[in-house]
């Protein structure tokens, strides 16, 4: 008989496969804060910039996702760039223009923009 635990393990494996098939293991994962507080601070604009850049410029090695609020209110909107084997980079107070520059410098060339990171 399959127990609920067996079922959940199967469901988890399927879920992980679905996430992987969306390119989770691509070199760079970008998380944009999309809770009420982040949206009020302007994160929708930032999300738009990333979304359209990924679509139009064919950034195949980027996995984009929204996330809830991590809790750093006065530095919102926040954006994280996570790469396997590296310290995740956390940007604070990201604007449309900054998002653009993060795409050009960090996502395309791998240059972290240190002045904007949360310490």
């Amino acid at each position: 008989m399959t127990t609920p635990l067996d079922m959940i393990k199967k469901k988890r494996a399927e879920a992980i496969n679905r996430i992987l098939s969306k390119g989770y293991l691509s070199t760079k994962r970008v998380y944009v804060g999309m809770a009420t507080c982040e949206i009020a601070a302007g994160s929708k604009d930032v999300m738009d910039v990333f979304e359209s850049a990924i679509k139009k410029e064919g950034l195949t090695d980027v996995y984009l996702s929204q996330k809830g609020c991590a809790g750093r209110c006065n530095l919102e909107p926040t954006v994280e760039v996570v790469e396997e084997g590296k310290i995740p980079i956390k940007y604070g107070k990201v604007t449309r223009e900054m998002a653009r520059q993060i795409i050009d410098q960090h996502l395309k060339k791998g240059e972290v923009i240190k002045e904007w990171t949360i310490k």
Binding site: A35, G68, C69, A70, G71
Partner: protein, 596 residues
């Protein structure tokens, strides 16, 4: 050295006791020997929750955690892990705790590193609208475990062993509440999640739901299994549209995956959840008023007993817990009740989420282990007071709580210690005030809120808070009378004793605690007609001194045209027209305006 590293040393009390401070020196020496100083960051975290294996340290990226580390192990860790990127297997702890995923992303930032995230473990690292993301971080595994291996009574025992207490503020032991509901023998039982978050400036529940809605659902389903409930409600205020939308999606996804509805995960247990929207009345956070509101009646409390666990929604036994309480449940089940009870103090276990706001550098949502001092929250996590101002008071517990002065900064966060200090844990609002805040005015602000929100059912709360507010208002307007402080104390104590529900019983707290801790400010207002913070407009006046150079900036800033004077000549404030807004004071670059 190919990559950048961050070493996180656990700075919790147990690890310090096990000589973690010696490790810090050893690491620094070893790094210096390899000429790596400054290239590897060392930071101190709050309790990492692996006290049994302390002292504990983590090396990021990859978040390799080492336990039982001694100073003699440090050279090996540095030469193998840092220099060659080969983690030291013999020391590594392979404990897959739910909470430590958060630290893989955020652990190296001081603000986050000092915290401990159990409730908010997934907030900020997963997509809240995708059930796959939740499943991938062991979501609903606790539910499956409960359905596979545990009887309802076992679940209740685990919650009791964990020591979890109600996070809505009152701190009633959760396990006992569950047991009381489980004991009732009826055909139908209900379960409620109280998401009616109403304290001004508090947003713990909203962020939890918006960041990780499934964890709340999973906690509720486990609770329903334990007490034998068939139907659950989430009572949430309509002014949280995004949280509601995410909950709706989460409920639909959970139904589709078989976590809600008939025969959950193939078992014979069935349960479903519906959302009920509140119209934003503060009193509806009180459990009996909330139940009335769900039933379709006006939101008003009723006397207890009978408690909801015996006679609640539609007169059936009802288990009602707060969002944060529910979100703790999956962790207790998967990481273990014993582990959970190792975090915190003797009587308060686990962590507490706070919304840190007011005059503090790092405002934000934080989660810390019980037992942390207020001082370390304000200075280590919050970064202290901005603009070189002096700390004056900390308000905890929202309109039901109290203001604590500097003398209480070393108070530990737990239900009893905060109550002994004259405040309450509350649901988690934490507002920091600096020297520019007038304590009488703050007390008036909170009382005005509760007075407005009083439902009017019982006389002490309806009439008493009104009279107290009148007295406070006249004090802030410079019309305070001799004996007003005593009148406030007498009325306040009476309202606390005689009110029907928690709203009235706690409404005088902000006033009584400020009288206790800042009595001299009340005396200043009444006897000297002075507000030392300059916040009570009626007691504050502005004058222009001879430092005035005639720049005309204040004249332009004054919204009522009360300032006269020619360019380069001295200016003057017409006291009759002045509305004491303080704009001139803020505008003047020469310090020529005096506030009195």
């Amino acid at each position: 050295m190919p990559r950048k590293y961050v070493i996180t040393l656990c700075d919790g009390p147990t690890c310090i006791h096990k000589r973690s401070k010696e490790l810090e020196t050893a690491i620094e020496t070893e790094l210096a020997r390899h000429e790596l100083s400054g290239r590897v960051n060392i930071n101190l975290s709050g309790c990492l929750g692996m006290c049994a294996k302390g002292p504990v340290m983590a090396v990021n990226p990859q978040y390799t955690v080492y336990g039982n580390v001694t100073a003699d192990d440090i050279p090996e860790i540095v030469s193998s892990h840092i220099l060659k990127n080969k983690p030291v297997a013999r020391l590594a702890i392979d404990e897959d705790h739910l909470y430590n995923r958060f630290f893989r992303v955020f652990g190296d930032v001081n603000f986050f590193g000092k915290q401990m995230r159990i409730v908010l473990r997934n907030c900020g690292i997963i997509d809240p609208e995708n059930i796959d993301d939740y499943l991938s971080v062991r979501g609903y595994e606790a539910l499956a475990k409960v359905l596979t291996e545990m009887k309802p009574a076992d679940v209740i025992t685990q919650v009791k062993v964990s020591g979890l207490r109600g996070r809505g503020g009152a701190g009633f032991p959760t396990g006992i509440k569950w047991e009381l509901t489980a004991r009732q023998k009826t055909d139908e039982k209900f379960l409620i999640c109280n998401a009616d978050e109403g304290d001004p400036g508090a947003f713990m529940d909203r962020s939890t739901i918006e960041g990780d809605p499934h964890t709340v659902l999973e906690g509720m389903i486990i609770g329903a299994y334990a007490v034998g409930a068939t139907k659950g409600f989430i009572y949430i205020r309509a002014e949280y549209p995004l949280a509601i939308r995410r909950l709706e999606k989460a409920i639909a996804d959970a139904r589709r995956e078989g976590f809600l509805g008939e025969n959950i995960l193939g078992s014979d247990f069935s349960f479903d959840i519906e959302i009920r929207l509140g119209a934003g009345a503060f009193v509806c956070g009180e459990e009996t008023a909330l139940i009335h509101s769900i039933e379709g009646h006006r939101g008003m409390p009723r006397p207890r007993p009978p408690y909801p666990s015996v006679q609640g929604l539609f007169d059936k036994p009802t288990l009602i817990n707060n969002v944060e309480t529910w979100a703790n449940i999956p962790v207790i089940i998967l990481d273990g009740a014993e582990w959970f009870s190792s975090i915190g103090t003797e009587k308060s276990k686990g962590t507490k989420v706070f919304a840190l706001a007011g005059k503090i550098k790092n405002t934000g949502l934080i989660e810390v282990p019980m037992g942390m001092t207020l001082r370390s929250i304000i200075y280590d996590i919050g970064g202290g007071i901005p603009n070189n101002k002096k700390f004056k008071a900390l308000q905890t517990g929202g309109p039901s709580g109290g203001c604590l002065s500097e003398d209480y900064l070393d108070t530990k966060i737990d239900y009893e210690s905060l109550a002994a200090a004259g405040s309450i844990m509350g649901s988690g609002g934490m507002i920091v005030m600096d020297e520019d805040s007038c304590m009488v005015n703050i007390a008036r602000f909170f009382l005005e809120f509760t007075q407005n929100e009083s439902c009017g059912k019982c006389t002490p709360c309806r009439e008493g808070t009104k009279r107290m507010l009148e007295i406070l208002t006249r004090i802030t307007e410079g019309k305070g009378q001799e004996g007003d402080i005593e009148r406030l104390e007498r009325l306040g104590n009476l309202i606390k004793k005689a009110s029907l529900c928690g709203l009235g019983q706690s409404a005088p707290n902000p006033v009584l605690s400020t009288i206790k801790n800042f009595r001299s400010e009340y005396e200043d207002h009444i006897k000297l007609k002075k507000c030392r913070a300059g916040a009570c407009t009626a007691l504050t006046g502005y004058e222009i001194t001879d430092k005035c150079v005639g720049c005309t900036a204040c004249k332009k800033a004054c919204p009522v045209g009360a300032i006269t004077g020619n360019p380069k000549g001295p200016h003057l404030i017409d006291q009759g027209r002045c509305v004491r807004c303080g704009l001139c004071f803020d505008t003047c670059k020469f310090g020529a305006i005096k506030r009195s």
